[in-house]
């Protein structure tokens, strides 16, 4: 293995304020309740942020309503488009700052926030900007109407990217938004609020209320909200679906997953192993569509496992701001605890655990890349979403068995297929009950490509033409 000299990205480009308020009606207001957000790589406090109360959420929803009625829903689409183009451009101009801030607050490697998250954020705003004045061509009628005020709650795994997935289509369609970022990763959303000011977006069109579960509950159950969009756990998704029952609120949910990544014997093994590694270790496995169940055809099991272990030994775990880092910090102590608990259950239930030799930093939240072999479909690590760098390995003999095992889950967000045989790819793709099927690739995202799940992975699509439907009154 090569030795690498440290290659840290400078954090001097970000100017984190000691304290942030709530962004309501284009203004910053001090929150009544405050908490801290930490850098998960070293547990250093980054800033104090507000946890919005019910009355503060109410103020934000009222601001969004006024902006909807007086400004945004009546503005010609071509004008809305230009605001979104402005926002996209400012994101590109401030790309490095956003990438460093995202890595500091979330713990993800700078290589990822710089090369994946932030470019996709800008691309998302560019994509939906162009829709704002073309909605009549989207297939939802000649002049589809917006819904009104959208209440949006996003997770901590891709903080700014999930914000873009929510806000860009909502604004393009003519809605106004109140968005709640996750309590452990609020900082890039707060900088996004500054970007809205810089773009001179009319006050109230975008409102950012930081906080935890109670803030989210106040937002989704607020009677002034017409549309609820949530990305997060299936458990919380269920609670939100119950909370909006009986209302006229339109709901889209992007929830958990337990994706199968299926490797056939004729697959190019080296490429497949890269796909397996990318599928489960990208973003520390904090990915709802992660390929967390590896299904390997029995005849190539030994070869795939040996190659996978060799590759895993080369993964560099450590400082998120180091440009050579492959795997960064686990986002929070609570998430680390969940990963540890489920991994211990994996061992207790009889699966074999393996991690490459790997030195973890002393401070912060860290978990070595891990695989379990000898996993059966009954094991909890094969059924439950771990949301960490932990892979369960199972085997199969026939394509029909691979389909059966892949679909044997209440989730249905994504799946991967690796084979050289074209007809088999299409045969598998037809039968996999999942919203995204990656064939001979994995974890690819694009603003033009719809994303979302079957079954208990939620409903509705984000991205692409399909993503507009969630924000139109159709």
């Amino acid at each position: 293995m090569f030795e690498y000299a440290p290659a840290p990205e400078s954090r001097s480009i970000v100017d984190i304020k000691p304290s942030y308020g709530l962004f309501v009606d284009g203004q910053w207001i001090d929150g009544q309740v405050r908490d801290k957000t930490v850098n998960p790589a070293n547990e250093e406090v980054l800033a104090e942020v507000a946890w919005a109360t019910e009355s503060e959420v109410d103020a934000a929803v009222r601001a969004a309503r006024a902006a909807y009625e007086n400004v945004w829903s009546t503005m010609p689409g071509r004008e809305r488009a230009k605001y979104l183009f402005r926002i996209a451009r400012i994101i590109q101009e401030r790309a490095r700052e956003l990438a460093v801030l995202e890595s500091l607050d979330n713990g993800k490697p700078i290589r990822e926030s710089r090369d994946v998250d932030v470019p996709l954020v800008a691309a998302h705003f560019f994509y939906y900007a162009g829709w704002a004045d073309k909605l009549g061509y989207a297939g939802f009628g000649a002049s589809p109407r917006p819904i009104g005020v959208a209440g949006q709650v996003i997770p901590w795994n891709f903080p700014l990217l999930m914000l873009a997935w929510k806000i860009a289509p909502a604004l393009a369609a003519g809605n106004t938004v109140v968005l709640k970022p996750a309590e452990t990763t609020p900082l890039t959303a707060l900088v996004f609020a500054e970007i809205c000011q810089e773009a001179e977006l009319p006050p109230g069109v975008v409102n950012i209320v930081t906080g935890a579960g109670e803030t989210g509950h106040a937002l989704v159950s607020h009677p002034g909200v017409d549309k609820v969009a949530f990305t997060g756990s299936t458990e919380v998704g269920r609670a939100i679906a119950r909370a909006v029952a009986g209302s006229r609120k339109k709901l889209t949910l992007e929830l958990g997953g337990k994706a199968a990544n299926i490797v056939f014997e004729d697959a190019p093994i080296d490429q497949a192993v890269e796909g397996i590694v990318n599928g489960i270790f990208f973003n520390q496995g904090h990915v709802c569509c992660a390929g967390s169940r590896l299904l390997v055809q029995e005849s190539v099991y030994d070869e795939v496992l040996a190659s996978l272990k060799r590759r895993m030994a080369l993964l560099r775990v450590g400082d998120p701001l180091d440009k050579n880092t492959d795997i960064g910090a686990i986002n929070s102590a609570a998430q680390l605890e969940r990963i540890r608990t489920l991994s211990e259950i994996g061992s207790e239930e009889g699966a074999s655990r393996w991690s490459p030799p790997c030195e973890l930093p002393e401070r912060g939240f860290w978990f070595a890349p891990t695989i379990f072999t000898g996993v059966t479909q009954a094991h909890r690590i094969a059924r439950e979403e771990i949301f960490g760098p932990v892979l369960s390995v199972l085997t199969f003999r026939t394509p029909a068995e691979a389909v059966e095992k892949a679909n044997n889950t209440p989730y249905g967000l994504s799946a991967g297929v690796w084979t050289d045989k074209g007809s088999r790819i299409l045969w598998m793709a037809d039968r996999l009950r999942a919203g995204v099927v990656w064939a001979n690739t994995f974890n690819k995202f694009d603003p033009a490509s719809p994303f979302g799940g079957y079954k208990e992975s939620g409903y509705g699509r984000e991205g692409g033409r399909h993503g507009l439907e969630a924000y139109l009154d159709v």
């Binding site: 679906a241 790819i425 099927v437 001979n440 694009d446």
Partner: protein, 273 residues
């Protein structure tokens, strides 16, 4: 001496067969004794609907269209019977035409609702609609045939299978429609039809973990609708809520009742030599 008529027994329609309610109950409605479905009948119907998903969703779109068109032919042949049951002639005609309209959608909806996606990289990327699976439907009470056809046809034409709770006070047209479907080459279990009390059977349907979606088109009790939607959240069923305002079932229905029970699957593959 005048001939004594042979009366019809109005039964349930489950898995392509016409059983009485396992509960042995019936209720008097429209001057007939009609089967009063129970929780067990709901469960049997879900089993039948689930068993039919693989074959029906796997059939070609052309084949589904052919079968649904055949059902319209059978419906036309029973036209007078529906009129005799009290369905207005114009509604019967509209129901037949509505069925034909949806039959034609079978091999077009994927072209209208799916599309290629121009992603920023060397990838083939295609989004296509697929059926959600098993759909529970509460039929509209105010339009026993046209309303029923308008909720059943859009759900099944795309490959879903359904369990339908017929209009409680006007179930005879629904049972007769089941007889039409039974003679239309429609595989058993694609449409399962239960007569009885919606307030009794709908909660079991809404809470059933092997049902993927609910169409509450016919629920007129707001409290019941809310509790059904809450129960549906347990396995994140897709829910089409009751209409906010009275529906004109003869108006152009659009494609919304089809797309409500479709999932979008997006397939990626690299391009290269």
């Amino acid at each position: 001496m005048s001939r004594l008529a042979v009366r019809k027994t109005y039964k349930l329609f489950i898995g392509g067969k016409f059983p009485r309610s396992e509960s042995g109950r019936s209720y008097l409605v429209q001057d007939a004794n009609v089967a009063l479905a129970s929780r067990k009948d709901v469960r049997d119907a879900v089993v039948a609907a689930r068993a039919a998903v693989k074959g029906w969703s796997g059939a070609t779109a052309y084949n589904r269209g052919q079968i649904l068109y055949r059902a319209a032919e059978m419906l036309e042949g029973r036209r007078d019977q529906f009129v005799a049951l009290g369905e207005p002639e114009a509604e019967v005609d509209a129901a037949i035409d509505r069925w034909v309209w949806y039959a034609g959608w079978s091999d077009k909806i994927a072209q209208v609702y799916g599309n290629a996606n121009p992603v920023a990289g060397p990838y083939f990327n295609l989004s296509s609609p697929e059926p959600t699976g098993v759909v529970g439907v509460v039929a509209p009470p105010e339009s026993a045939l046209l309303g029923l056809v308008s909720v059943v046809a859009p759900a099944i034409v795309t490959g879903n299978t359904v369990i339908v709770l017929a209009a409680e006070e006007r179930p005879l047209a629904a049972v007769t429609l089941a007889e039409v479907l039974a003679t239309s080459d429609l595989p058993g279990g694609v449409v399962n039809l239960l007569t009885g009390k919606v307030a009794e059977t709908a909660p079991w349907l809404a809470a059933h973990m092997d049902v993927n979606a609910l169409d509450l088109a016919g629920v007129r009790d707001a409290a019941l609708a809310t509790s059904l939607e809450e129960a549906a959240a347990e396995n994140l069923k897709r829910v089409l809520r009751p209409p906010a305002a009275p529906v004109d079932w003869s108006a152009d229905p659009g494609i919304g009742r089809m797309t409500a029970f479709l999932e979008t699957k997006t397939v990626w593959h690299p391009k290269g030599t």
